[in-house]
């Protein structure tokens, strides 16, 4: 179906904002400022602000049950063993979890869902289009969106109790090295039986899958860089709480950094140096590949654009703040050809707001996914 969205202030993110209209065709943005067409359905945006749908690069929606305290509903962390690359977040997602609606109502149209951080290697994430009109399998954008790994206090505290395999940071590093060495040995073996655990690790070693590493402290960041160098694989840093203390290392190696959640108490020693200035410091040092994450439910997903606002409050440029919740996470997931900006040829994932996205007092008015109206706040109410 073709339709025109007219009279909006368009914020493409990848270009300057302008007043204009869009032609939507077959779920894609087909044309910018199309000529008036008779008979084409038209939606009047009344001069409100149109942004691309927001992209959350790191959350646990669907695996970590919303509105429940029951462990029966928690499928984020498989704690029985320290190395579980064969786990897929996809297999633990509760499709009708309220978190999806919470995300949609607040304009988050793409969700990357990772396993947790309780083990050195926890499993593979999945990227989903948050479009409730699609069947679950149709929502999958990338079935294997990255291998989740974790350093620091979480694997230590979990596996000192459960599998009793880790007491120190040294063991976390040793177990990861051993896993990748096992994978290399497996590859060399002739007449081998298929081993999914090894195959996933090999994908990382061959550059087909990126390692997304949960890490807070600067020394842990340097440990994973050391290991990645030894084996020659690509990494993205998740949380990266102390990245602002070693910005040169991040810039030199051009490692993508996903900062957040920015709004929790300093309840672990490894987050004591967390600062709301981290994004701004990284930008000043030359980091361009910055994204922001909520780690929902650690903080509610509606905070994602507010993290961008607060980063601006502390000196981040508005341009990078907007990119950090749209095109940058899209790029990190390998989806920037489809989502993350308002450009011709991209999915028509769009949100209409009464104020600018970076103003935390904005209201989301409408959300479209793949060109279809997915959320109408006036009818369905705010989820906040």
């Amino acid at each position: 179906m073709k339709w025109i969205l007219k009279n909006a202030i368009l914020h493409p993110v990848t270009a300057e904002a302008f007043r204009g209209s869009l032609l939507i065709d077959k779920g894609k943005i087909a044309q910018i400022n199309p000529p008036e067409r008779k008979g084409t359905q038209t939606f009047d945006a009344n001069g409100h602000h149109l942004f691309p749908g927001i992209v959350e690069e790191h959350c646990h929606i669907g695996t970590h049950g919303e509105k429940t305290n029951q462990t029966a509903d928690q499928d984020t962390n498989e704690w029985s063993e320290p190395i579980t690359p064969e786990m897929q977040a996809l297999d633990g997602i509760k499709i009708f979890d309220f978190g999806f609606r919470m995300a949609l109502a607040n304009g988050i149209t793409t969700l990357n869902i990772f396993p947790g951080s309780g083990s050195p290697i926890t499993g593979v994430g999945v990227a989903l289009k948050n479009d409730p009109s699609l069947r679950f399998e149709e929502r999958i954008l990338i079935k294997e969106s990255g291998l989740k790994m974790a350093f620091g206090e979480n694997p230590k505290s979990v596996h000192s109790k459960t599998s009793k395999t880790i007491q120190t940071r040294m063991a976390t590093a040793a177990l990861i090295r051993k896993a990748f060495q096992d994978a290399l040995n497996y590859e060399k073996k002739k007449d081998k039986e298929y081993n999914r655990r090894m195959e996933i690790l090999l994908k990382v070693l061959k550059g087909e899958l990126t390692a997304h590493v949960h890490v807070h402290r600067a020394d842990d960041i340097q440990t994973i860089i050391r290991i990645a160098d030894e084996f020659g694989f690509k990494i993205h840093l998740e949380h990266a709480t102390e990245a602002h203390l070693i910005p040169k290392i991040i810039v030199e190696r051009q490692i993508p950094v996903a900062v957040g959640p920015m709004f929790t108490a300093k309840y672990k020693i490894e987050v004591n140096n967390r600062s709301l200035q981290t994004p701004a410091i990284l930008e000043r040092a030359g980091v361009k590949d910055l994204s922001l994450i909520t780690d929902h439910p650690v903080i509610p997903i509606w905070n994602l654009p507010i993290e961008a606002s607060m980063a601006v409050h502390y000196g981040l440029s508005e341009d990078l703040a907007l990119r950090a919740i749209t095109i940058n996470p899209a790029k990190n997931l390998g989806l920037d050809h489809r989502i993350g900006s308002l450009e011709v040829g991209k999915d028509a994932d769009m949100i209409l707001l009464d104020r600018e996205l970076l103003d935390p007092t904005h209201r989301v008015l409408y959300v479209w996914t793949n060109g279809n109206l997915s959320y109408d706040t006036e009818k369905e109410g705010m989820v906040l």
Partner: protein, 382 residues
Amino acid sequence: MLIVKGAQIWKDRGLKRLDFSVEGGKLSGFSPSLLPGPHDEVLNLSGHYVYPGLIDPHTHVGLLEEETGNFAGDDVNETTSPATPGVRAIDGINPMDAGIRNARNYGVTTVCVMPGSANVIGGEGVVIKTAGKSVDGMVVSSARKIVKMAFGRNITWTWSKKEKYPSTRLAVGAVLREKLNAAKNYMANPERVCTYEMEVLANLLKKEAIARIHVANLEDIETIARIAREFDFDYVLDHATALHTNVEFAKTLKVPVILGPLNVAGKSFQSYDVTFASVKILLEAGLLVSVMSDAPVIPLNLVRLQLFLVDRYRLDRSDILDLFTENPAKTLGIEKQTGSLGIGKDADFIVLDGDIFDYRSRIRSTYINGNAVGGEDYEMDS
């Protein structure tokens, strides 16, 4: 005397261009133009905005300390007995806690600190200013005495795990009735031997103290109302997570409510009904509403975020500011001392370089009792 000149100040529910003076830690005068004398200190705040210091009526800062790793400085719940009216928050507060530093640097000048919610009667709370090295010197003495209580899952979860009484909601009500009965008998006994525990509960029954009751679910709120009728004491509903789901019932209660923490997800706060919408619904129902952070659940440097999120419901902005200033002051009984800018009140105010609802504006400095004690740039330096 300190003369503050040139700022837009938030007074009587609006921004006004007024100068003001501070003497002996108190606000002593307001005028469109104040002329400083030869011995007066002058602070020129042209282009700046002055608001009353923010008040958080429900926190655990200083007890549940940040930056200690898994809250190693945890003194929030005395879970050796389900009713501990004799313990006092003031005895566990570390004034050097990062949570208190956060408060003053981000505009919160007064906090109420209370024991946690693992016990039916948790102990005595205290209201303090957020600057100082000695907690005794930080106490806001005009505040009404506070007895912290709790209903619901936190208690039954804590005590059923230990396989001890009270493991159900039935027993929670029974523990409270038993203790209040004991206090009644204590008061009626002319030959009583003074105990601190009983004195605390006697204060409640004499209405010198007010009960601050942690509660989420509607059934628990009903039980509280029932027991309060039986024993005739004053109370405040803290969290009151589900109250907005029954507005007609809420209107019958006529008690102050302190909502929050609202910016939470996942295993929501013992009730699944947590929403910023509750603020609007209960304000429209005519209740005295305040908003808490429950810090460190939500750290005090993020109180302004809650203000932005409440603003999404497009309430009158005076009503929104009241949620974080005058309303908690009234609930704590300190409205004559702080919570607004007026002659004779403590000089607790914050200076911003823009409107408080503009996310780009920064808190340049925080004043408590007329002294500059913090601001966002202080945090940068530390």
